[in-house]
Amino acid sequence: MGAEHPTATRAARVELQGLGMRYQRDAAPAVEDLTLDVPAGEVCVLIGPSGCGKTTALKMINRLIEPTGGRVLIDGVDVRTRPVALLRRETGYVIQQVGLLPHLTIASNVATVPRLVGWDRRRIEMRTRELLTLVGLDPDEYADRYPAQLSGGQQQRVGLARALAADPPLMLMDEPFSAVDPITRHRLQLDFLRLHRAVPKTVIMVSHDIDEAVRMADRIAVMREGRLVQYAAPAELLARPADDFVSNLLGADRALKGLALIRLEETALRPVPAVRAGEPAGSVRERLARGDLEPVDGAFLVLGADGRPLGWWSEERLGGADAVPSPPPGGAEPLLDGITTLRDTLSALFGTGVDHGVVVDGEGRARGLVSAADIALHARGEGPMASRSAG
């Protein structure tokens, strides 16, 4: 994601250098020698079991906890050299239980940090409306309500807007989506990703949900007992877990999880054996003979005049036909759009019980074919799809 971001918006690089935290002298350290480099504009997810030190690590970045060793640099500046209130006002902070101020309206909650840093009223009001819209809440409807009048998911959206209010270059998020139901959580995650593409901040997020981490992160930092076990991009983590601990955390379905990272548009596809409805049989035979048409499993894909797939037509029928017939539309399911992940593609193929799915572009025109076998080969780094590897 990082590379696609426009550079105009501020995002900070965060470096943790040998960070350590020991709550008591004789106790085991909560965090030990943690070194991480989070490039500007990336989403880094800290993950691990309860008590692995991920939340402690996060809180040392905005100095809610002061480390007992090492240091934190934001854009090269040691956070300890900065007044703590100023540091926190420049760092968005989102927590699981949201923590909206119950006695203030939604608009006032969002305006908290802008007020602290002394923006004028007009600018605050404009910013508040902009942010509520950005997180999917109509300002006319919600600005004057109180937190208790909103659902959990809506409150978390307000929490997100509030953290973004003063345009901080860094956002710290402590299990931001785990207090809501699974459907709301999934929607919030996708909305957050959309938001992150529009407003690219550096995000450091604590999570205990590996699916969330794989879905959201540019990089995942796996922690265990206060130490960093592995720090890698999701695809790299899934492909090469550092040890048994990481592969257990990823789960038995980690190969499938890896497929959720790759979209059809990022892969090379099998060419479509396309014939036009109404095309003379002679023309089809000619193209077969020339070798620029090759049936797949003994069948051609019949396209309408607009290039949309209509259905499959067996090669055997070619002998007795004058022209390619025009089957009723709907015989080429599943039709898959380019942003479908390989995991969802497999699900669609198994769901419809066919060998090949047709990948279509935005106008619904056939662009290529994909099969479960192709995906299996791709997972091993072979086959036709692997020629354009995803990132």
Partner: protein
């Protein structure tokens, strides 16, 4: 004892009744204002510390248990008679409930709210003024209501140190004149009405200060 209410006495003493009522209101108003002005800063000083809060509760609690007649007699022995000592006694009685309710309110701020406020860069003072005190308003107001109502009652004893008030009707005009019922009833009725009206006004004030609580119930 004369059971009949003597309306002619009331009619001929309206000036006295009015004066006593105003004196009573002054006693209650001034002592309540001073008590609140002392209790809230004290609560703010002690609410973070268990030891400090415990000590404060012990001292104000001991004051609260002193019988009111003894308290007035004691204050009379140190100071002179009059308005001041009466107010002092009423203030001392008010402190326990006011401080305890304010501390409970200040401590009732949910942890996530406190964490979020800290994480956004509010200083301690800003957290106190913008988060903790506003959220403590319902608890503080509950304390003020109890205190106000009981102060209206206790203030009738102020007559014994010459501070006037409705106690004058009840004691000087009623009890000391062979239990003359009319002024006793007049004082009691006015005190009760005063307590109820003050309580209603405080409820109204609380509603105006806590719009978010009504919104939440909608």
């Amino acid at each position: 004892m004369d059971i009949e209410v003597r309306w002619d006495w009331i009619r001929s003493h309206t000036d006295d009744i009015q004066r006593n009522t105003i004196e009573h209101l002054q006693l209650v108003g001034v002592s309540l204002a001073i008590a609140i002005a002392l209790a809230i800063p004290l609560a703010v000083l002690v609410y973070r510390s268990r030891v400090a809060f415990g000590t404060t509760t012990a001292i104000t609690g001991a004051l609260y248990t002193v019988p009111s007649l003894a308290m007035f007699a004691f204050l009379l022995s140190i100071f002179d008679i009059g308005f001041g000592p009466a107010v002092a006694a009423l203030v001392l009685y008010s402190l326990l409930i006011l401080i305890r309710n304010a501390v409970v309110g200040l401590r009732s701020v949910p942890t996530p709210v406190r964490d979020a406020a800290r994480g956004m860069g509010l200083t301690r003072l800003q957290t106190l003024l913008r988060v903790e005190l506003p959220l403590a308003v319902p608890s503080i107001m509950a304390g003020i209501r109890i205190t106000a109502v009981s102060t209206v009652g206790i203030a009738t004893i102020a007559v014994f140190i010459g501070a006037g008030g409705l106690g004058e009707l009840i004691y000087n005009d009623g009890v000391q004149r062979g239990l003359f019922l009319t002024p006793i009833l007049a004082g009691a009725v006015i005190a009760t009405a005063m307590a109820i009206i003050i309580d209603l006004l405080l409820v109204l004030a609380e509603r105006l200060m806590t719009p978010w609580l009504r919104a939440a119930r909608r």
